[in-house]
């Protein structure tokens, strides 16, 4: 059977050498032409800015808005079943691993921050939470909480949104020439908590809650920065802001 197939292939190869070669040439030419066309279109699009920055920022801000809403819901879920003693031993928010990042403290300060800095801040914060979110998603399975399933789902959603937002912001940064030139610096904010959030029930809940509260604040920061950026970029569309 196989021999016949091989024979047939050989025959086909032999038969098709001439015609097939011609066909191949045509195909190759078509491909080249197609590639050229594609590239030109892509360049044109990129050059012309087919999708305006404001729209991209709008989408990003919407994504960050969703992210923050999810985190708010998560913290409320955890608060409903939180032991009072946990509040006592809860570490302070200054203990968040992202607290080392200098962010504006009020409106004047925030409005004075440059756009690229705002963007880099947002991206840094987002970057800093990829690992801890992973830790959260793994440790939620052992979380002694009645709404464990919904919490687990929301954590997963958080991860997805966070990832997509990060990708979008990266693209966005690449689009803006200014930001490209300035080579935004993304601060590294490592998470030192490790994979373990605690052994006993109270510590687990407390650590979980603490992490989520830190994430909630950081997501709000990201959202605020992006919305400021959106309004700054939408000078052509005053109704937006």
């Amino acid at each position: 059977m196989e021999s016949t197939r091989r024979k047939r292939k050989k025959q086909r190869g032999g038969e098709d050498t001439k015609a097939d070669q011609e066909k191949k040439r045509e195909m190759a030419q078509r491909k080249i032409n197609g590639n050229k066309l594609f590239m030109t279109v892509l360049y044109a699009v990129a050059a012309c800015g087919a999708v305006p920055i404001s729209d991209l920022l709008d989408r990003a801000s919407q994504r960050s808005d969703t992210l923050h809403s999810l985190s708010t819901m998560l913290t409320q879920d955890l608060d409903s079943h939180f032991p009072p003693i946990g509040r006592m031993i809860m570490p302070r928010p200054s203990m968040c691993h992202t607290s080392s990042l200098q962010t504006p403290n009020d409106k004047e300060q925030a409005l004075q921050v440059s756009e690229s800095d705002l963007m880099s801040l947002a991206r840094s914060l987002l970057q800093a939470w990829s690992d801890p979110l992973e830790v959260l998603s793994t440790s939620v399975k052992t979380l002694p909480h009645p709404a464990q399933n919904s919490i687990s789902n929301k954590i997963k959603e958080l991860q997805e949104h966070s990832k997509s937002l990060g990708d979008g912001l990266n693209i966005l940064s690449g689009k803006v020439r200014k930001w490209v030139r300035q080579a935004q610096t993304i601060s590294s904010l490592p998470y030192s908590g490790g994979n373990d959030i605690g052994q006993d029930r109270i510590s687990k809940l407390t650590n979980f809650h603490f992490l989520l509260s830190c994430f909630r604040r950081d997501s709000h920061k990201i959202d605020s920065f992006l919305k400021v950026l959106r309004c700054r970029a939408a000078k052509l569309q005053p109704e937006m802001c």
Partner: protein, 647 residues
């Protein structure tokens, strides 16, 4: 001493009792509670608290806060701006994304009480002020107006820089309603409301909410009136018109669908004549000639061209299987006047139906027959009248009877009018005739009148040709309700002889049974009925001859070998005089009377007048009156009293 002691005691008592009298005790203040903290624009914020009991002493409250990174405790910078029991943090004192730990302390002379601390982050407690400058206008859109609502964000909220992102919500309601209509407007500052009620007045309000905060309060209400763009009266009339038109269409369609049944209901169909063999279309055509011609039995009624003589009944033959027989004799005298009505023995048309049944009384048969007779006569119309007149003149009618054989189980008795048939039929083969005859026919065997000339006897022998016998004159009891009066004199002239032979079975049908006679099939095969009288209504009352005085209906028995009416003669008035036969055994006294009066009584043959009362023998002295009382002399008694219906 005593006084001083008393005073001291009183003072002490007062001192002790004073506080009891007042009922209060001083205590440290109660625990205050921080109710809420709010920031209207994410730049400043305010905290309010609720003081506890003051403990009866003037208490002061103080708010202390501590930021998350430092341990420094600060006191509230501004207690007055925001009102009573509040603390206002201005821009300088407000930091965002920083946790504040706030505590309120209530202090009085006896002590101080701390409230529960509260941790807040300013960005999470944003509740803006309501939107400002709400403007509502009515915009026309091709006579369908709509509301355009526009507003401004609260002046403190900085939405231009994107610091705060606000979303708005509008609510609208009619002035007289209770329920608001909510519309989410997003981030835009303008909104259109459609589907307005013409002429209604609306209330509009708007509020806003930051992207992650609390809803503001509702703005001040804005009133707007929508002009009348849809005239109400017109709309109402249009609605009424459309609705009624719709109903009319439905009604019309329903009527149309049920028109057939409605026609039957409102205008019931007129029953048409139901005569077998009679074509209704002829009546509808309205041509009398055709009608009459259709009605006409082939040989009946005899037309002018007919030869009357042919119609003469030769003789009546009464079939008595073995015993008595009547010879129906032809009457020469009746030649002229008698018309023979040829009724087919098997007359499928007239008078058949009701008499077919065994169970019917012969009364009914007779009535039916009589009626049919009359109907037939009526139909004749003009031609018939002529014939009738002729008949009337002729007086004598021959009545044929079917010879009822004793074997006839069907008990057919034909009424004499319908029985017209040539005698040979009867005599020759009674059984055949019987077979030819319809079953269950009741016939009245009426003997013809015997002319006095003839010395014939009633009895004929079976099989005996009637022609052989004498020719009695027959008078037929003519049924004619049309001209009863006219007929009366003529009737008087005509003598009627009715001999109805009732069959054994006839009596069994319901007529009187002639037990004795019936039992002897031979002798009693035929029964004789005597016409008692003709009542006022042209009813012939027949009475079985024999026990004559009895009511005919009550005469169960047939006289035995009795009561043959014998034609005595025809008087000048064309009245057939009958006399009783010789063979009578039992004579009813009435019969005697009859015989006595036989001569004198005349029967009106033509008119069928029967007395309604089949009383006892009326023969006696029954002068012929207008009512045509029939006095029968020596009549053949009939088992059945036949009362002919009046017309």
């Amino acid at each position: 001493m005593m006084k001083k002691a008393v005073e001291v005691i009183l003072l002490l008592f007062l001192l002790v009792s004073m506080p009891h009298a007042k009922g209060t005790r001083y205590s440290p203040p109660g625990k205050p509670t921080l109710t809420r903290c709010r920031s209207p624009e994410k730049e400043t914020f305010t905290c309010w608290w609720e003081p506890g009991s003051d403990g009866g002493l003037p208490t002061t409250h103080a708010l202390y806060y501590r930021k998350e990174n430092s341990e420094t405790v600060y006191e509230c910078p501004d207690y007055r701006t925001a009102g009573e029991n509040s603390c206002f943090f201005n821009k300088n004192n407000t930091s965002i994304w920083v946790n504040y730990n706030i505590t309120v302390v209530a202090t009085n002379t006896l002590g101080s009480t701390f409230s529960d601390p509260m941790d807040i982050d300013v960005v999470y407690i944003v509740k803006p002020n309501p939107p400002e400058r709400l403007a509502v206008t009515v915009k026309e859109d091709k006579s369908w107006p709509f509301l355009r609502v526009s507003w401004e964000p609260p002046h403190k909220a900085d939405t231009r820089s994107g610091w705060i992102t606000l979303m708005y919500e509008i609510r609208v309601k009619l002035e007289q309603e209770n329920k608001w209509e909510m519309h989410l407007a997003g981030q835009q500052k303008m909104f259109n409301i459609f589907s307005l009620r013409s002429g209604g007045s609306y209330l509009v309000q708007v509020r806003c909410k930051p992207d992650h905060g609390f809803w503001s309060e509702w703005s001040s209400t804005s009133y707007i009136e929508v002009p009348d763009y849809f005239p109400r009266e017109k709309s109402v009339w249009i609605l009424i018109t459309v609705f009624s038109a719709f109903i009319f269409v439905i009604l019309f369609w329903l009527l149309h669908m049920n028109s057939h049944s409605l026609k039957h209901c409102i205008l019931p169909p007129v029953p048409g004549p139901k005569i077998k063999g009679f074509d209704k279309q002829l009546l509808k055509n309205g041509k009398s000639e055709e009608i009459f011609s259709a009605l006409m039995v082939p040989d009946f009624p005899p037309t002018t061209s007919s030869n009357f003589e042919d119609l003469l009944v030769e003789y009546l033959e009464v079939y008595i299987p073995e015993g008595q027989e009547l010879t129906l004799q032809e009457s020469k005298d009746l030649h002229d006047g008698c018309l023979k009505s040829e009724g087919s023995t098997s007359d499928s048309d007239s008078g058949r139906g009701s008499c077919d049944s065994h169970t019917l009384l012969i009364d009914n048969c007779g009535e039916a027959k009589e009626e049919e007779r009359q109907q037939d006569q009526e139909r004749m119309g003009m031609e018939a009248q002529r014939h009738q007149k002729d008949w009337e003149e002729k007086v004598l009618n021959y009545a044929h009877e079917d010879i009822v054989s004793p074997d006839m189980s069907s008990g057919r008795v034909k009424t004499w009018p319908s029985v017209f048939s040539p005698l040979p039929q009867y005599s020759s083969n009674p059984p055949d005739q019987q077979s030819s005859l319809e079953m269950a026919k009741q016939h009245y065997l009426s003997d013809s009148l015997f002319l006095p000339d003839s010395s014939s006897t009633y009895l004929t022998q079976p099989g005996h040709s009637t022609r052989e016998s004498l020719e009695p004159s027959y008078c037929e009891f003519r049924l004619s309700n049309k001209q009863p009066h006219q007929l009366h004199p003529q009737m008087q002239a005509s003598q009627q002889l009715h001999m109805t032979h009732s069959d054994v079975n006839i009596s069994s049908i319901g007529c009187k049974q002639a037990p004795a006679g019936l039992q002897s099939p031979d002798l009693r095969s035929t029964q004789y009925v005597e016409v008692q009288k003709v009542n006022k209504e042209d009813m012939v009352l027949l009475q079985p001859v024999g026990k004559g005085c009895r009511h005919i209906e009550l005469c169960p028995k047939m006289p035995q070998g009795d009561n043959y009416s014998k034609v005595k003669g025809v008087n000048s008035d064309n009245i057939l005089l009958l006399q009783r036969g010789v063979m009578e055994e039992d004579r009813c006294p009435c019969e005697d009377q009859e015989t006595n009066g036989a001569r004198e009584h005349s029967h009106t043959a033509s008119t069928v007048t029967t007395t309604q009362k089949p009383t006892a023998c009326i023969h006696t002295a029954m002068p012929v009156q207008d009512e045509m009382v029939l006095a029968v002399n020596g009549y053949v008694d009939t088992a059945i009293m036949c009362t002919l219906p009046t017309y």
